[in-house]
Symmetry: C2
Subunit: 318 residues, 2 copies
């Protein structure tokens, strides 16, 4: 069994490669839920959905998120209302784009949760409908929510920061609400303890991986498996391939490099897989206390994703 | 000024005729909200939306509800999830059909209500976006909800009764939750007190008009205007043109005829407009205490709707 800590799009791409080289039924992804949100009354789980749609082969690779062949009629109508009434604040302004087919997922999830199902159960139902053989586990069924605190004194819900503000803000700190009562979803600790290897996908360490590790019990479970944990650096050449990881690391006083990543992951992972471009930094990664493996980590194709998965698996297996 | 008590589709059709013969800015419709519901986390106001879409000329006349040119991608996806998981109960089963464009209305309404706007304010925003010159007032901004109690002991929320069960149940009683704390929406009592005439649209007396009259203050306001109130019978030849009015009347011990309607409305309206088909019952309507006017009430065309509106206006004006 192979377990992967996963955020959204970067993790999904990695999972595609992984499923090329191992039996999908052997794979469990533990997916971040701290950027889940309720918008327009609908429960939205962006990382779970990114993983689901990608593993189903239904994702839009050009847009980089959401479903392929998507239409936007609901949002167009919503925005017409907003524009007619000069509504520029709040969900009603329509800054969070929801495709028509994607809405079906959120309508279903919202109703099933309201009917008393857990997020785990609903995720299982959704992945079943898409014919996904791998297991996608939400990290927690508790509502934990990332909050981004800006240097100008605002507290932003994660999607406000990420989508509405396009992460173009200076961040003073990131906190996670709900951790005091949160518990790992059923199967999460077992998936970490029982896996042959545990991989940390090339996801944002601050807002994707840390909110998984921060759930009481998970970090300790990872520490116990450290020797068989390998992470892939989401930072290549000092920059994130996508999203705000580099800027966030810098704003929060971390080095926006594979070395900064090594310092963050050293406690929970024995090895860090870095890109060829960062070869010169390998000694510094090792100095930070991690094994360091150098390979092509930029997943331009399924073949590269598969090679990366194979290398990471071998690394974690020692 | 002309005020109309209105339910959904039948009322909307009548309003179209009315707006042909008077200045739309003179018209206020007080619309039933007791069949509003929350489905998939979305606040849905079926009667307000039916009136809005129809007055905007955007309604689907063939289907009889919803928007013309509508697509159903969100629901198709939702149903795929439901079918894959044998979900046949609750909202998630997908029995309440929501078009993609229509969803834009519900997303907008839900967000605006969550942001603290009243249903009145949101309805004004929505009708403004559609360029509707008439005023659509929800009867109340309070959450009042029709409950249908069946003879086999079930309590059904209105949409469960109407859409899911297709009103194919025997009804023991109809109650309305939330009346003890409900108040008329701003402008409602003024629209009744200040209008030249008040019309009761050919809507279901039990589940469309009564939930308006039952809001504390409204029935008394209508009684005070009785001499200038005219109702159009929704029953023609002993049957409802659409929906469960006839069966409901019968189940609840009322006569499913213009005479039954007269007995229900006699307290609040001086006149009843009935269809030519029911001419023979005119004496019985009068015996029930109402003036009776006979005309063509089946709105097969805009011209007939306009004639019906003119006749009803003249009747109410005395």
């Amino acid at each position: 069994m192979i377990t992967v800590l996963a955020g959204g799009v970067g993790a999904a791409k990695f999972l595609i490669g992984l499923l090329e080289v191992v039996d999908p039924q052997e794979v469990t992804a533990i997916v971040n839920v701290a950027d889940d949100t309720t918008i327009h009354g609908l429960r939205i789980s962006p990382d779970l959905d990114s993983c689901t749609y990608t593993l189903a082969g239904a994702n839009d690779t050009e847009r980089g998120w959401g479903l392929r062949g998507e239409t936007w009629l609901a949002m167009e109508h919503l925005r017409r209302y907003a524009e007619s009434n000069d509504v520029t604040n709040g969900d009603a302004a329509g800054w969070f784009n929801l495709g028509d087919r994607d809405l079906g997922t959120h309508l279903y999830r919202t109703s099933r949760l309201a009917a008393g199902r857990s997020l785990s159960q609903v995720s299982t139902e959704i992945t079943k409908a898409w014919g996904i053989a791998a297991t996608l586990l939400p990290a927690s069924n508790s509502e934990i929510r990332t909050k981004v605190h800006t240097t100008d004194g605002r507290e932003l819900a994660f999607q406000d920061y990420f989508v509405r503000e396009r992460y173009d803000v200076e961040v003073a700190s990131v906190t996670i609400d709900g951790l005091d009562t949160a518990v790992p979803a059923p199967g999460v600790l077992e998936a970490i303890a029982g896996a042959e290897v545990v991989l940390i996908a090339p996801s944002n360490p601050i807002v994707s991986i840390d909110p998984i590790l921060a759930i009481p019990g998970i970090r300790n479970a990872m520490v116990a498996r450290r020797n068989n944990v390998a992470a892939i650096s989401p930072i290549v050449g000092g920059a994130a391939l996508k999203g705000p990881a580099d800027r966030l690391l810098r704003d929060l006083g971390h080095e926006p490099s594979v070395v900064g990543i090594a310092r963050l992951y050293e406690e929970v992972a024995a090895s860090l897989v870095i890109d060829i471009e960062d070869e010169a930094l390998a000694p510094d990664v090792r100095a930070a206390g991690m094994n360091c493996v150098i390979t092509d980590t930029i997943m331009r194709s399924a073949a590269i994703s598969a090679d990366l998965a194979r290398t990471t698996l071998d690394t974690a297996a020692g």
